[in-house]
Assembly symmetry: C2
DNA sequence: AGCCTTTGCACAAACCTTTGCGGAACAAAA
DNA sequence: TTTTGTTCCGCAAAGGTTTGTGCAAAGGCT
């Protein structure tokens, strides 16, 4: 077969017609006679002609590429969201470039710039853990490139976003623990600057007061979402005078780390300590005991995000930012059911 | 700031010089006077000029994009390999488009075509589970686009690949079980057409004979790597007359599923049944008991794959296919140590 | 003064595609 | 024969960049 990719020019030369004629014939333009059209199409097929999207991109000023920036692709949470994004993008002929920020806002900024330089048609972003200064997104706003945030968001008046109702979910988790007999509920939270931290803390406090429990500052600890820090703060939590009988963790990592620490301390879950958190189906069911958790509708988050983005890309006039709040589901499993034992 | 992206033309117009002069000034060509060079650079900076990679791609016939096709991004195994790929690609200014085949060879073929149409500079592929006809890769060979396989490979004389030494790893696992007192070792294998299935079976048999154990066909069961089938074959395995005292599973999913079934049957791991497999650090340590497993050097696999690919891309002359065989490490944990109990 | 070399820049082609417009060839109507 | 109208196709521009070549002005030399 052909070693080099064949272009319209090649076809035109072979047939002794002009490039524009070939181009038109290929799309059944009425200017071209049926006979010639057939000849062109046959040759194009035989030579396996494929339009060059690069040239098209240059002409139409669009790349059919969308960029995704996530803190870490090596987690079930992000990879399954990405999976939703990819499936939606593929349906509409878009390619997806993924870039991992490794929880660093500096790398997020870099990737942002790279993707913008590449002329991506749109961006989907989840903020890094240490994101504090959001001015980098001015870049985006000025560049007229649509962007949608998910999960960890900012500047929601300017950019669309898809999140879950963190406050409600956290409230639900807290109340669930109360209803299962736990009376001293601690919370391992994340960095202050993340909206998910703030919102889940708010929900936690709301839940507490709803149950008539008072909020104890010493039962709220922060960590950077690493395995190591999670272990440290769990130990700290469990070695206080006022030791909690339940822990609500902000995410998977925190929970699993806490689970290990508790086991090492000889404490049983859920008998001695109840454990709940935010997780996903897979991880929650692989540990023993199974984890009661808020299940993120990860695939849907991805689908919503790409849907929102493609809407913005395809609409001529700039659309107002839109917020999609997905309902998360409480999955009751073993780690929190002291009552039935 | 500027709403539209600025081009060389814009700069040239503003400064009253030609486009080529601006282009050369920007790259310190000696033809351009220092004064003009400075003026050009200053304006380029002020206007935030960024070369358009699309135009460059058209000119240089390269996109700086590499395509990756994996069976399923939503697994720790693939996502961490991808992470290695991405890190290597980023270092050399390449973007990575990921495409999930969902274990379907038909989708693999589709993605292959898409990526080729996009003019990706290179491809990294892991075969889908149902891949049997490898003729689709003729396309690639004819198109002179470098491709490297990893993990699940084919046509290794034509394409480079990076794998682990499956035979040796499987042998090691089997011998390990024997050394820990297990005498009736079963193996849950994968589909026949995958090289990893074949090789691990070979290593399993090698290990058996090395230990003086005879290979029993009824102790070798196949499954499609799904959670459901894994559970079914495990039950089948454990309800035979000649019930095994150890199971060696081909991967994570199989192992976790087997673990659950065993637990449901009231069997204790590792006391009643030893359990080993191929997994990764994270999953192996999150389950209880911790899983003895061959740890895939996932990040390295990714790094090697992208390294090989970039070598081929950057070499003018076509290189002969190269095989990289990474050493996998046996991580001894709790699920197989009957002896120390 | 006449010639040559250097300096400093512009022109144009090439990469591939789409598309508005112009135009040749031919037939039919006036 | 001239006009009008079709049919069918080519030309050229545009999108952004690199790069070989051309060329004018200025300086140095004899």
């Amino acid at each position: 077969m052909s070693r080099k990719r064949v272009s319209l020019k090649d076809l035109a030369n072979e047939l002794g017609v002009s490039i524009s004629t070939v181009s038109r014939a290929l799309k059944d333009h009425y200017d071209i006679s049926p006979e010639l059209t057939k000849k062109v199409k046959d040759l194009a097929h035989a030579w396996n002609y494929r339009p060059n999207p690069i040239a098209l991109g240059l002409l139409k000023q669009r790349t059919k590429i969308i960029g995704v920036i996530v803190p870490d692709i090596v987690t079930h949470f992000f990879s399954s969201i990405f999976s939703g994004i990819e499936s939606g993008a593929k349906e509409q002929g878009y390619h997806v470039i993924i870039s991992s920020s490794q929880e660093s806002h500096a790398k997020t900024r870099e990737s942002l710039q790279n993707l913008l330089d590449l002329r991506a048609d749109g961006l989907i972003v989840c903020l890094a853990q240490d994101a504090e200064d959001y001015s980098d997104f001015d870049l985006i706003q000025n560049s007229e490139v649509p962007l949608v945030f998910f999960d960890r968001v900012c500047r929601t008046e300017e950019f669309s976003s898809v999140v879950i109702d963190n406050i409600e979910a956290a409230r639900e988790l807290t109340v669930h623990l109360f209803q299962n007999g736990y009376r001293s509920i601690a919370h391992i939270a994340g960095p202050e600057n993340l909206n998910i931290s703030r919102e889940r803390i708010a929900g936690y406090q709301k839940g507490l007061s709803e149950c008539g429990l008072s909020f104890k500052p010493e039962h709220l600890v922060r960590c950077d979402l690493s395995i190591e820090q999670s272990a440290i703060v769990t130990e700290k939590l469990m070695s206080q005078k006022d030791v909690p009988d339940a822990i609500f963790g902000i995410n998977d990592t925190v929970i699993f780390s806490a689970m290990k620490v508790l086991r090492r301390m000889g404490l049983k879950v859920p008998q001695d300590v109840g454990l709940v958190g935010f997780s996903d189906e897979f991880h929650a069911t692989v540990v023993e005991p199974n984890l009661t958790a808020i299940a993120h509708p990860t695939f849907e988050i991805g689908r919503e995000a790409i849907g929102l983005l493609l809407d913005e890309i395809n609409s001529r006039t700039p659309k107002p930012a839109k917020q999609v709040i997905l309902k998360a589901k409480l999955m009751v499993r073993e780690s929190s059911s002291r009552i039935n034992l």
